[in-house]
Amino acid sequence: MGNKQTVFTHEQLEAYQDCTFFTRKEIMRLFYRYQDLAPQLVPLDYTSCPDVKVPYELIGSMPELKDNPFRQRIAQVFSEDGDGHMTLDNFLDMFSVMSEMAPRDLKAYYAFKIYDFNDDDYICMWDLEQTVTKLTRGELSAEEVTLVCEKVLDEADGDHDGRLSLEDFQNMILRAPDFLSTFHIRI
């Protein structure tokens, strides 16, 4: 397989291959997807490591993400400054973690960060209410939302402090074998 691409140096491509779950072909395919989002912004030559960020609005309009209610949180978690604007590294990282081959612990860690809307390292009642509202598109009544969140806390909160820590979340994920197949974006 010849190295005919001129986008990355050989070392860069090897580094990407070693640090993500993608093969060389997939990395190139992902790069072209990234470049298609903003053709005038993203140069076709990354050998000099340009500092280019694609704004969140374009990321959120990708077909894989545009109907996902958590797309804003996903973009925020994986972006460098938490604002949703992603560099190529962030983009590759996001799809690598959401790919089929990422292990459960890694996915659980990022899922926790995604559901933690206020970034305080705990999923508190407010975070849960946000999640349920986004999941049901606001079609449950406020009382039902609160009831659901309380039951979630009852089931998953191990140390009864009223919020879920990372360990509680991971413990709950272990009981859900479907997590690996649902927390997966195919690209």
Binding site: P69, M101, L106, D119, D121, T136
Partner: protein
């Protein structure tokens, strides 16, 4: 067991720049800023769900059994001092700091290298939470800077093999740029790695599968095969439009394809290929090719590599030097002599053995993933966090998912609210009677089908084979196919009467009934072949006949599946949309998967008599994929009920292993050990049983000389003797029993640990409250003392800043406010 909560052991309190709780004038900037940012963000989002603090410092409104500190309106508020200490608790700094992640992975790498499961306890600082011992954090007296920790991690990573290092890097929850920097630093400073052999991309997938499966060498091959990903875009579209549940059917189809290829390769290499290279003398003129052969498998196809009868019973390629042993003597100098009967027996045996191992491995892995020790229900939590399928990409499918999740949550809430009370005795009796009746009817239908098949097969046996026209041979397969098509619809109709509560149970019951029908019909057919046909065809090639029957069954199964797709999906959609106005029909996942399992059983039954049957099955599966995909896209919608894709995949692969493969293996063993092969054709024509070929070879080896004498010894004492079988069975039973005991013990330990976590949580809350009250008392006494000295000036509400007490010490200084706007929140007045 005693533990000591030593909050003061943090280095911040040991001697340093960190302000003490008594020093109110120092500002803990970052925390204040954090709170302000977050409340601003909450206000920006416009989600006014709750006026009470969404911010980071408060514990949530707690339930009845919590002993949180409650203000007058029920919100938990703490003083600035308490919050400062809380912010520096190890549990709050773990996830956030970069250094902590690096330390954690440093420890993991060390463990990986030293292959120890836990770090030695003596070397670690005591801490409040035992799990923190795994984190080499600031609790350690030698507080390491982030750069030093990073250098340690790099050093440890250098000590790993490249594959392990890559595996470690990929699993780290750091950003990609950070990982690349770590990788660069860990590259051995021997210059650029020029000489490192780079795997082509297809093989690097195998290496991903290999590294985590490094404890099971060679068995990672199956996951590697799966990762080769043919049909990637097709599966992506299906997953995007219909979700994981329907996708599980297509993934199962792909798995079956892999199994068939695995079965086909040894047969092609060792049996079919060799015989095709050394064709036996033709028996007579080959009949002309008519199109009917494709359906019946007879005619032109009879005397070809496709069936058992073609294979020679002698040693191929035998040099003419030695005395002729009934083999074909090739005068020219040839290669190795090839004992065809032995090769046939061993290849079929080995192929089945490999399939068995792979199947059991897949099943155990799938089982391990879906069932966990001590997993309680947790239905709400799982629905909220794990039910959104991120693969779904179409707007309509996405909306359907929203609706499904909403319905599911409503149902869960309704179930919890109603707490369905015990039915009256009359109701229960009525329900039991209905259930029993429906089951009796279903079993009656099964019995009816079985009797029909038996009667028809007896009818077919009355007239001899040669007198019948070719087309009449299709009678039995057609009858079987028709019954397999119609009976499931009858079952579905009867199941409507049952009205099960749980949709998952409904699916299991339907699968059970269909499976019973199919297995019983196959059982009758096996009896018909091995019991009756062998006798009826005693001077003809009965194995060829059985092979052709199985070929016919495979082909008619394919035709009836097409018919089912046509009527069940296309026509039903037209009727459903135009006449009933109910929208598209749902894709029947369970029924289709059972069809696949049935087809695979037929293939396994037929391998001994028709070595090319797996090839036919491969072609059939390929065609089925495209046809089912087209029909799905055009005619169906995703199932509305929650599907539990992972549990169902486990169930499917267990069904593939237990009734299906086990039944085929029993059939094969019976055919090899007990049935007399026909004397006119095939590789075993002069023997009493097929197994005798092996015995003949062992006797030949005994005579051959002392160098291979261990093999007959092994055969006599380990294979023919029954004692080793008993020993192995006893060992396996003992292992199973021990495993059950271990699982029971683990369950107990999990229960104890859960209790311990809960207790520690309560302890933590208690101590925080105590800390708060101690701080309060100190401030009050200090405020009291200072008030006695100075009269307080008037306090202006706008100027009052809770963090800087320049306005005066007499203020209720322990109040804590969130955010710049004081209107939304309450202040806490000390009791």
């Amino acid at each position: 067991m005693a533990f000591v909560l030593d909050v003061s052991e943090t280095p911040e309190d040991q001697g340093s720049p960190e302000p003490s709780p008594y020093d109110e004038s120092a500002v803990h900037d970052s925390f204040h800023q954090l709170i302000r940012e977050q409340s601003q963000r909450a206000a920006e989002e416009g989600l006014e769900l709750q006026p009470l603090g969404p911010g980071a410092g408060t514990l949530g409104p707690s339930g009845s059994d919590h002993q949180a500190l409650l203000g007058p309106e029920g919100a938990a508020v703490y003083s600035a001092a308490t919050l400062r200490i809380l912010a520096s608790m190890p549990s709050r700094t773990i996830g956030r700091s970069h250094g902590a992640i690096i330390s954690q992975y440093y420890n993991r790498t060390v463990q990986l290298r030293r292959r120890a499961s836990r770090p030695p306890l003596s070397g670690l600082a005591r801490s409040a939470r035992p799990s923190l011992r795994l984190y080499d954090l600031e609790l350690d007296s030698t507080a390491l800077e982030e750069e030093e920790k990073r250098a340690l991690l790099v050093k440890e990573l250098r000590g790993l093999t490249p594959a392990q290092r890559d595996h470690m890097l990929r699993a780290m929850p750091l950003g990609l740029a950070e990982k690349r920097r770590l990788r660069e630093e860990t590259q051995t400073p021997r210059g650029k790695r020029r000489g490192r052999p780079r795997l082509p991309s297809c093989c690097s997938r195998l290496s991903y599968a290999r590294v985590p499966a490094s404890h099971h060498p060679g068995l990672g091959l199956l996951s590697g095969l799966r990762a080769l990903a043919p049909w990637h875009y097709a599966l992506k579209r299906i997953g995007g439009q219909f979700g994981s549940s329907v996708l599980s059917y297509f993934l199962f189809l792909k798995t079956l394809l892999a199994f068939n290829v695995l079965l086909l390769l040894p047969l092609l290499a060792f049996v079919v290929g060799v015989q095709a290279a050394f064709p036996p003398a033709p028996r007579g003129p080959a009949p002309a090719f008519t199109g009917l052969e494709l359906l019946t498998g007879g005619g032109r196809f009879t005397d070809t590599v496709m069936y058992y009868g073609y294979y020679s019973n002698a040693t191929l390629n035998q040099p003419c030097a030695g005395p002729l042993q009934g083999g074909q003597c090739t005068p020219e100098a040839a290669g190795l002599p090839y004992n065809m009967p032995l090769a046939y027996l061993f290849t079929v045996g080995a192929a089945f053995f490999i399939t068995c191992i792979t199947l059991v491995y897949s099943m155990s892995r799938s089982f391990g993933e879906s069932y966990r020790v001590g997993s309680a229900s947790g239905a709400h939590a799982i629905t909220v966090f794990c039910s959104w399928d991120h693969k779904v990409t179409q707007r309509r499918a996405s909306r359907l998912q929203h609706d499904n999740i909403r319905t599911q949550l409503k149902e869960l809430l309704a179930e919890w609210r109603l707490q369905r009370g015990p039915r009256s005795v009359c109701g229960r009796l009525h329900r039991a009677v209905v259930l029993a009746l429906v089951w009796l009817l279903c079993l009656g239908i099964t019995l009816g089908c079985t009797v029909a098949v038996y009667a028809f097969s007896e009818l077919m046996i009355q007239s001899p084979v040669s007198a019948q026209p070719e087309g009449a041979l299709l009678g039995l397969p057609f009858v079987v196919g028709l019954l397999n098509l119609v009976a499931p619809y009858l079952y579905r109709g009867l199941a409507v009467l049952e009205r099960q509560d749980s949709p998952v149970l409904e699916v299991y019951v339907a699968i059970c009934r269909n499976l019973i029908l199919k297995m019983v019909v196959l059982g009758i057919l096996c009896y018909h072949w091995l019991g009756r046909r062998v006798g009826a065809l005693n001077n003809q090639c009965w194995e060829n006949f059985v092979g052709q029957e199985l070929y016919r069954l495979v082909v008619t199964d394919f035709l009836f599946t097409l018919l089912d797709t046509l009527f069940g999906e296309l026509v039903w959609r037209l009727i459903s949309e135009k006449k009933l106005r109910r929208g598209k029909p749902e894709f029947d996942i369970a029924g289709n998967v059972l069809e696949l399992i049935y087809g695979q059983t037929l293939t396994w039954l037929g391998v001994l008599f028709s070595p090319l049957l797996p090839a036919v099955q491969v072609i059939k599966l390929l065609l089925l994929f495209y046809i089912k995909k087209a029909s799905l896209m055009a005619n169906c919608q995703a199932p509305r009920r929650p599907w539990l894709a992972s549990h169902m995949s486990t169930v499917f692969i267990s069904l593939l292993c237990f009734p299906s493969f086990l039944g085929a293996a029993i059939f094969l063993c019976y055919a090899i050990w007990q049935v007399r092969p026909s004397s006119l054709c095939g590789p075993f024509r002069t023997l009493d049983t097929m197994y005798e070929a092996g015995k003949v070879w062992v006797r030949h080896l005994e005579r051959a000389g002392p160098r291979v004498s261990w093999l007959p010894w092994v055969h006599r004492y380990l294979v023919e003797n029954t004692f080793p079988v008993y020993l192995v069975s006893a060992l396996m039973l003992a292992m199973i029993y021990l495993n059950i005991q271990v699982v029971k013990g683990q369950r107990k330990v999990i229960g104890l640990l859960k209790e311990q976590i809960s207790n520690e949580g309560e302890d933590k809350i208690f101590l925080i409250n105590k800390l708060h009250s101690v701080c309060e008392k100190k401030e009050r006494s200090r405020a009291g003392r200072m008030q006695a000295a100075v009269t307080p000036p008037a306090l202006d509400a706008e100027d009052w800043d809770p963090w800087q007490h320049s306005a005066g010490p007499g203020s209720p200084a322990s109040a804590h406010r969130l955010g710049p706007a004081p209107t939304a929140l309450q202040t806490h007045t000390p009791p």
